[in-house]
């Protein structure tokens, strides 16, 4: 480091424009603290999202692995059950077609579940302090930035899975169905990302967070309709699987694959306590995500000790 940090006298430390801007800010901002959806919120959210995309661009291996992994699932799991007699998997013509919806949802879910990890590492390395001492319009910008990033990843993964499924003979849903599938994936991702980030603020460290991710990830997969239909399961598991938010994303997508002429009133699956329509499933997903956001609010706004 050169020892001449000092006197280039021409350089002032002050910046008159910035000074002016600060003065104008004092009057307006104190009276009206900006909230979610304010320009300030959008500015900070975009900057935080940009950071995540720069990281991805310079470390693309996560994206590559994120695409290769579900495709391998699709091929290997599909092969495993290839010879199961037709008709066992409900209306699906073959297991590959049945499995696609499960892999789409599980991949998005796993990505969102891990969203808290980078935030936890930021916390442990002290980078998060940089954000927490800044006058953020709302700390939800950290959540929204992560959700936007994971959502983009999930949509790319979903496209890859849909593409490979089509090649494997599962057919290709029409544009309307594809859009609704996208919306279902995004809703689930938002809710799960929020929960994961809530944990990143609440748990003591990354060891604990990884433990929670570990014990949630596969059990939620197996206790859902991702791999087998409800009718395969014993009664108690049917009950659990019908409480699992993943099922409310998987079954509508599976239905979309088989029924281009879907309606909100179409029954997408039979829970032990009654039939679930497309509209109800979507409603439950939205409620899940909003509930998750409300739940983590106190966690992310508290001052970490």
């Amino acid at each position: 480091m050169s020892s001449t940090l000092t006197p280039r006298r021409a350089d002032s430390i002050e910046n008159p424009q910035l000074q002016q801007w600060k003065a104008s800010l004092e009057e307006s901002a104190i009276a009206h603290p900006p909230g979610v959806f304010s320009p300030a919120f959008i500015q900070e959210t975009l900057a935080l999202t940009r950071r995540l995309f720069i990281q991805l661009q310079r470390r693309p291996s996560t994206l590559v692995a994120g695409i290769v992994q579900p495709l391998m699932w699709l091929i290997l799991f599909g092969a495993l059950f290839q010879n199961v007699p037709q008709g066992l998997f409900g209306e699906s013509q073959n297991y590959g077609q049945f499995l696609g919806a499960g892999i789409i949802v599980f991949t998005a879910f796993a990505g969102a579940l891990n969203a808290g990890l980078p935030v936890m590492f930021d916390r442990e390395f002290g980078f998060l302090n940089r954000l927490l001492v800044a006058p953020l319009a709302s700390r939800f910008s950290i959540v929204v930035a992560s959700a936007l990033f994971i959502a983009a990843m999930s949509l790319v993964q979903t496209a890859a899975i849909v593409g490979l499924s089509a090649v494997l003979g599962a057919g290709l849903p029409n544009v309307g169905s594809l859009l609704l599938m996208g919306a279902i994936v995004l809703t689930l991702v938002l809710g799960v990302t929020a929960l994961s980030l809530g944990l990143a603020f609440a748990l003591p460290g990354h060891i604990e967070l990884i433990a929670v991710i570990f014990v949630t990830n596969l059990p939620l997969l197996f206790a859902s309709t991702a791999l087998v239909p409800l009718s395969f399961m014993p009664g108690w598991l049917q009950f659990v699987a019908s409480l699992n938010p993943l099922s409310y994303a998987i079954e509508p997508i599976r239905y979309l694959y088989l029924h281009p002429d879907w309606q909100f009133s179409s029954i997408v699956f039979q829970a032990p306590w009654g039939s679930v329509s497309m509209g109800l499933a979507l409603g439950i997903l939205v409620a899940f995500s909003l509930g998750a956001l409300a739940l983590i609010r106190p966690l992310i706004s508290r001052r970490i000790a």
Binding site: T4, L18, L48, R50, R130, L131, L132, V133, A134, P135
Partner: protein, 341 residues
């Protein structure tokens, strides 16, 4: 005019540990204020409470008259915080980090660009701006951290041990930069356990020990309060203990000598506290000459902040640091365990 920073009766406990017991201080606008104390004294905890990162158990905290507890967002806009450990994203370039920093302080685009260019120039980071921070040296990282903390032109800049781990040259450069900021009117709160740092920079100082402020005032005031002058002398380059002890006993008898000790850490040199007196050096030299003792070296000095600390706590800052080492290693280990991926 409201003080730039007001802390009154601050308390914070972590489980068993009372990290901050009773800290009160007031920083005037434009002042450099030093918070001096050994490892574990509660400096970082005090600063975290001030910077809205930690909720205190009790106490009043204000920045420019605004309550830190009630108006955290407004306080954040006015504060710049440079943490004890530099935390950068090693994948981002310096410029990208500053762009992120500008956005989370909501600087408008044109002003942000101008200000980023200005800070890169001021901290002489232009050549490094578009390289990833992962390859920066320690001094460069600290400079980027300073640029980030100052980007939004805070009214009060808070630095937690800003020169720990820096080489002498980098340290001097940071000091110079802080002086320049001071000249431009920024209020600065700096923590340190380097006496020289606080002595060289601070207009006023609070000495904090085990979570309590034990003394505060300007460095000169504090030294005057302790009083007396220091004389350090060596009989030989390496004096043996007996000879040093007999010289000490001899000098202790002089009426102007208030205290005399043999410092075995420094080759059995003899440290005297004497009444401020023009003839002190001469008198000491004469006393030794009369006893036929040689003098290898002798010097006179005003009390240091270490003497202030010694007078207030009965230990030197060095001793306190050593005592904290055991604790600190445990802290470090726990941290490393935590960090391992």
């Amino acid at each position: 005019m409201a003080p730039a920073v007001l802390i009154e009766g601050l308390q914070k406990r972590y489980g068993e540990v009372q990290a901050v017991k009773d800290v009160s201080l007031e920083i005037k606008p434009g002042e450099i204020f030093g918070l001096l104390g050994p490892n574990g004294a509660g400096k970082t905890t005090t600063i975290r409470c001030l910077c809205t990162l930690t909720l205190p158990d009790a106490g009043r905290l204000e920045v420019n008259g605004l309550s830190v507890i009630d108006y955290p967002r407004q306080v954040r806009q006015r504060l710049g915080y440079i943490a004890q450990d530099v935390a950068l994203d090693k994948v981002l370039t310096g410029r990208e980090l500053l762009e992120l920093q500008a956005a989370i302080y909501h600087l408008p685009g044109a002003i942000a660009r101008d200000r980023i260019a200005q800070m890169l120039r001021l901290l002489e980071l232009e050549d490094w701006a578009d390289k990833k921070t992962g390859i920066y040296s320690g001094g460069l990282k600290k400079r980027l951290d300073l640029a980030a903390g100052l980007l939004h032109q805070p009214d009060v800049l808070v630095l937690d041990e800003p020169t720990v781990g820096l080489d002498i040259e980098s340290r001097t450069a940071v000091w110079q930069f802080l002086r320049q900021l001071h000249a431009a009117g920024t209020t600065i709160l700096i923590t340190s356990h380097y006496l020289e740092e606080v002595d060289a920079l601070a207009d006023r100082v609070a000495i904090i020990d085990r979570g309590e402020v034990i003394s505060s005032g300007s460095p000169a005031e504090l030294k005057d309060q302790v009083g007396g002058e220091r004389i350090t002398l060596r009989i030989r380059e390496f004096t043996d203990a007996d000879e040093a002890e007999s010289a000490r006993a001899l000098l202790q008898d002089l009426p102007m000598v208030q205290d005399a000790i043999v410092n075995s850490d420094q080759g059995n040199s003899i440290n005297l506290v004497v009444e401020p007196n023009a003839d002190a050096l001469m008198t000491v030299q004469q006393q030794l000459k009369d006893a036929d003792m040689p003098i290898f070296g002798i010097s006179q000095s005003r009390p240091s902040l270490d003497d202030v600390y010694l007078a207030a706590t009965g230990r030197t800052l060095m001793d306190a640091e050593l005592a904290a080492v055991g604790q600190r290693d445990m802290k470090k280990e726990a941290k490393q365990q935590n960090m391992r991926r």
